[in-house]
């Protein structure tokens, strides 16, 4: 039989199963194969906070979504076209997101009494009419996998079902015409010490692939042509890895050792894990006893003259507040990475949110301004980390870096920058004792000298008490305090001289501007460009620097009749913009632990366009 082949621009596939089913691995392999095939890809892992929630239950479902395309894409996609569900709970949790008419591939063997009950199904959804709106492919994966691998010599029979995920991956590889060689090589490398495991996984992968080809269950294969992508050297990268590499790159560009002090916290721990591997780049990592110690050792390392950074998530940032005040008061350069997650309190540790913006602005006692930068994509985490270090050492200030769970775990193919294009970061540790005072300032940046212990002739004392201008001695003088508060603010304001102007995409002026920050960039830019192409007067501007704002922000805002501020919080940037510019901006908010979908942003814009005129 000759199979038909359908061509598509983009397909979104979601792998879902129990947290022990290996769905993250499956998704990563599919992504790798797609990237190597030449598609543009973007991914979104969505996993539970529990390491192993009870098997088969709804809270234990782990998912991994991949968008692969022949076009340039910016998000992991809205609604999936394809859902692979390894058990009833995975089906139950994810089916509501699937596009009408989409493909559902399930492991039929798991749809039995106890599993159905744990997922809250009264009957079997494979047998009733509930999936009639989808193309259901019900495959006995457990049985087929077991039959395929059971005769492998030295097979560990207790782990026989562990290759079901690779069987499912094989099915999708055939369905979407992906090459399997890179996954074969990966399996051979990954398990090279365990030949039986290699044999089992390869057998499962290939059996799945050939099963899909020969079982004639799919009416056609789908082809997503390679994207037209710029020539260059590529690698895949997640936001957290890009943050880590960015910090290391900054230390190399500054020719100064990197110190990273951190306490493990989801979803920031991976930055610590990555940096711990870069010891041959002379990176020093310090796993501290708690969040406060993590920022404390970082301040100590900055005082000692290193490129110093600490990393955490929202609850940890709250604990670091007092020490950050000390860093502001003593004007020491450092970077504070905050990978935001759902809050308040412990909140949603593995889910994304943008709700720490006001904490970043105001979460410290006293008048305590900090520079704030937020990367806009996994790749931008690399550049934003370098920018954060550059500003910190140039202005002698701590810089807050607001990533989020969506960026941290999302993966993109990265066209590596030319090394010559990365500007050096000048670092000067003062050595000249002539006319030295701890708080004399650079006239352009207002930076005080970075005079590090061990330097002869520059012995001095600093601390958290208010400083007298220039001498840095303790001062309770009322006029001095006012002056110093204003200077600390002025330092932040002057950073605006060093940051890029706000750029407008889509309509240059007109009806609606989408003003965004952080990880919502991709979805909102895509929404804007699609609407613009459809003939609507919609522009998009994205803030990478939140404090200070770019100088042209107000001018940009005033080019549009309405400014919509989409945020994964309850309106934090919106509040700041209204307060600063007295513009009647429209908030668009979502706090579900999930990123924006392009469609919902478009819908909001259309609602505003339709209602306003």
């Amino acid at each position: 039989m000759v199979k038909t082949v359908e061509s598509r621009q983009s397909i979104v596939i979601r792998f879902a199963g129990d947290s022990g089913d290996g769905m993250q691995l499956t998704g990563n392999r599919f992504t790798d194969a797609s990237a190597l095939f030449g598609n543009d890809v973007s991914t979104f892992p969505d996993y539970p906070a529990e390491i192993r929630a009870p098997a088969g239950t709804l809270p234990g479902v782990s998912g991994f979504q991949v968008n692969f395309s022949s076009l340039d894409i910016r998000t992991p996609g809205d609604a999936p076209d394809v859902l692979v569900a390894m058990n009833p709970a995975a089906l139950k949790v994810n089916i509501k997101d699937l596009k009408r008419g989409g493909i559902v591939i399930v492991n039929k063997d798991t749809f039995t009494g106890p599993n159905l009950k744990k997922a809250g199904y009264d009957g079997n959804p494979l047998d009733d009419a509930s999936l009639d709106n989808y193309q259901l492919h019900s495959i006995p994966i457990t049985t087929l996998n077991s039959n395929a691998v059971r005769d492998i010599p030295d097979l560990n029979r207790a782990f026989i079902n562990r290759s079901c995920n690779l069987f499912a991956l094989g099915v999708t590889f055939w369905l979407f015409d992906r090459p399997i060689d890179s996954t074969v090589k990966w399996i051979e490398q990954k398990f090279k010490k365990f030949p039986a495991v290699v044999a089992q996984n390869l057998k499962a992968l290939k059996t799945g692939f050939y099963y899909a080809e020969t079982a004639e269950m799919f009416p056609s294969q789908y082809v997503v042509e390679p994207a037209k992508i710029q020539p260059g050297t590529y690698r895949e990268i997640t936001g957290n890895e890009a943050t880590a590499i960015g910090l290391v790159a900054a230390s190399l560009l500054a020719d100064t050792q990197l110190f990273y002090g951190s306490y493990p916290i989801t979803p920031a721990s991976d930055v610590l894990h990555h940096l711990s591997k870069y010891k041959n780049y002379n990176v020093m990592t310090f796993q501290a006893e708690d969040e406060i110690a993590a920022v404390g050792v970082t301040i100590g390392a900055a005082y000692g003259g290193l490129i110093a950074a600490t990393g955490t998530s929202g609850p940890g940032l709250a604990l670091k507040g007092e020490a950050l005040g000390l860093a502001v008061m003593t004007e020491l350069p450092m970077v504070v990475v905050n990978v935001q997650r759902g809050g308040p309190s412990t909140g949603l540790p593995t889910k994304t949110e943008q709700s720490d913006l006001l904490q970043a602005f105001f979460g410290r006692n006293g008048e305590c301004p900090m520079v704030i930068i937020a990367p806009k994509s996994p790749i931008d985490c690399f550049h934003a980390a370098i920018d954060a270090v550059r500003i910190a050492v140039k202005y002698m200030v701590p810089v807050l870096y607001l990533s989020d769970g969506y960026l941290a775990n999302g993966m993109e193919p990265w066209c590596l920058p030319e090394i010559e294009d990365l500007p050096k970061i000048p670092v000067t540790h003062r050595t000249d004792p002539n006319e030295y005072f701890p708080y004399i300032r650079d006239t352009e940046t207002l930076a005080r000298p970075w005079a590090i212990p061990g330097t002869p002739g520059l012995e001095h004392r600093i601390g958290g008490l208010e400083k007298a201008e220039i001498t840095g001695n303790v001062s309770y003088d009322p006029d001095n305090h006012q002056k110093m508060c204003l200077i600390r603010q002025e330092k932040i304001d002057r950073v605006a001289n060093d940051i890029e102007d706000l750029e407008i995409r889509g309509a240059e002026e007109g009806d609606v501007l989408l003003l965004t920050w952080g990880g919502t960039y991709g979805a909102c830019l895509s929404a804007c460009l699609q609407l613009h192409e459809e003939g609507h007067s919609v522009g998009h501007a994205h803030l990478r620097w939140l404090n200070p704002f770019p100088k042209n922000l107000e001018a940009v805002l005033r080019k549009f009749k309405t400014v919509i501020v989409p945020e994964l919080n309850l309106g934090q940037l919106n509040m700041l913009i209204r307060a600063r510019f007295l513009i009647d901006t429209v908030p668009f908010n979502k706090v579900k632990g999930k990123p924006f979908m392009i469609a919902e942003v478009k819908e909001k814009v259309l609602e505003v366009l339709g209602g306003g005129k």
Binding site: K228, F259, K279, V283, M284, G296, T298, P417, G454, I462
Partner: protein, 355 residues
């Protein structure tokens, strides 16, 4: 500051270490004596002035760095060990001092103290123990005795105090000592020994707060009673005390007892002090001695060797660089898993497969 004829090692005097800041502790505060002993000791250590960094938290003791002309950092409450640890990691050549008090170290900063000690950071911790909160004007502290009447405990404290030395011992400190503000020479000697110890050094200094807790150490700090109320620990010597050196300590079961004897013929079974005793039980037992039942031991309780945190930290990097070569920007960006896209849009896998 003057240099020796060789020009290499500066010969420093006490006044080289005095800062231009006016000292602002209450008149009669024990901190003056500690500062004097410290300033007297620094020039004897043979360390250039710029290599000293004094880190403090919050409290009366924490003002200390302002009065010493070295690098100094008056940080935030309880966190001095963290800032000191970061600094020492950044530059192991520095001589780092942590100046703290009983509230700063054992209440708000208890966690950091524990971890700084167990990591064996090569820093010197001087804990000024006056058993009261002075800067906040007189509340009980974690070392205040049970029943202590203060502003916040008008009916007496209901909490059991923590013993700083036992805390340090339990935290695996490698140098544990006690001295007192009223004995300048002993203080100076103890500070010097603490600095010479390679590894974390923990020194409790029994200090008087003349305003809020005057006389808290009176029986042990007064010269006329000290011989009877304290026992000075000396390496490899029997534990003998008393005005006439007529009392000693002897093991009894798992504890010890005081025995009296003719000073001409001390008994042969007296407890002999060993700072490096294979078991820490010896030092633990000494920390339990309290007046009036037992004399309070003064001196170095324990001193053992263990690799320091910062040495191990730098060693791991050195070995990684030796094994893998020093990383550069190119190797950093490329990682282990790249592919090329050529001008025709073809993709070619590079390198090894990343697992």
């Amino acid at each position: 500051m003057t240099l020796t004829h060789s020009g290499r090692i500066p010969v420093l005097k006490k006044k080289d270490f005095e800062s231009d800041q006016e000292v602002r502790w209450c008149p009669g505060c024990g901190d003056y004596a500690i500062l004097a002993a410290f300033l007297k000791t620094l020039p004897t250590l043979g360390i250039p002035r710029e290599n000293h960094a004094i880190i403090s938290g919050i409290g009366c003791a924490a003002r200390f760095p302002y009065y010493v002309n070295t690098y100094g950092f008056h940080t935030i409450h309880g966190r001095a060990p963290t800032i000191a640890s970061g600094l020492k990691s950044a530059n192991p050549d520095l001589t780092v001092w942590i100046i703290t008090g009983d509230g700063d170290a054992l209440s708000i900063g208890g966690n950091h103290l524990l971890h700084c000690l167990r990591r064996n950071m090569n820093v010197n911790i001087l804990l000024f123990n006056n058993r009261i909160y002075g800067l906040t004007k007189g509340q009980y502290s974690p070392t205040s005795e049970k029943g202590k009447v203060t502003k916040s405990t008008p009916l007496g404290s209901i909490e059991s105090p923590v013993n700083p030395l036992r805390f340090a011992m339990a935290s695996e400190a490698t140098f544990v000592a006690r001295t007192m503000d009223s004995d300048l020479r002993h203080m100076s000697d103890t500070i010097r020994r603490a600095q010479r110890h390679k590894g974390v050094s923990f020194v409790e200094i029994m200090q008087n707060c003349i305003i809020f807790n005057n006389g808290t150490w009176k029986p042990v700090s007064e010269k006329k009673t000290r011989a009877e109320t304290t026992v000075t620990l000396e390496q490899n010597k029997p534990l003998i005390f008393g005005q006439k050196l007529d009392k000693g300590l002897r093991l009894k079961g798992l504890g010890a007892e005081v025995v009296e004897f003719d000073p001409e013929t001390p008994p042969s079974d007296l407890l002999v002090h060993d700072v490096a005793s294979p078991s820490s039980l010896h030092a633990y037992m000494l920390t339990e001695f309290d007046y009036p039942e037992m004399p309070i031991p003064i001196g170095v309780f324990r001193q053992v060797e263990r690799p320091t945190y910062e040495d191990s930290l730098h060693e791991q990097n050195r070995i990684a660089i030796e094994n893998k070569g020093k990383g550069d920007l190119k190797s950093l960006l490329h990682g282990t898993n790249t592919w090329e896209v050529n001008a025709d849009g073809e993709e070619i896998r590079n390198d090894a497969v990343d697992v």
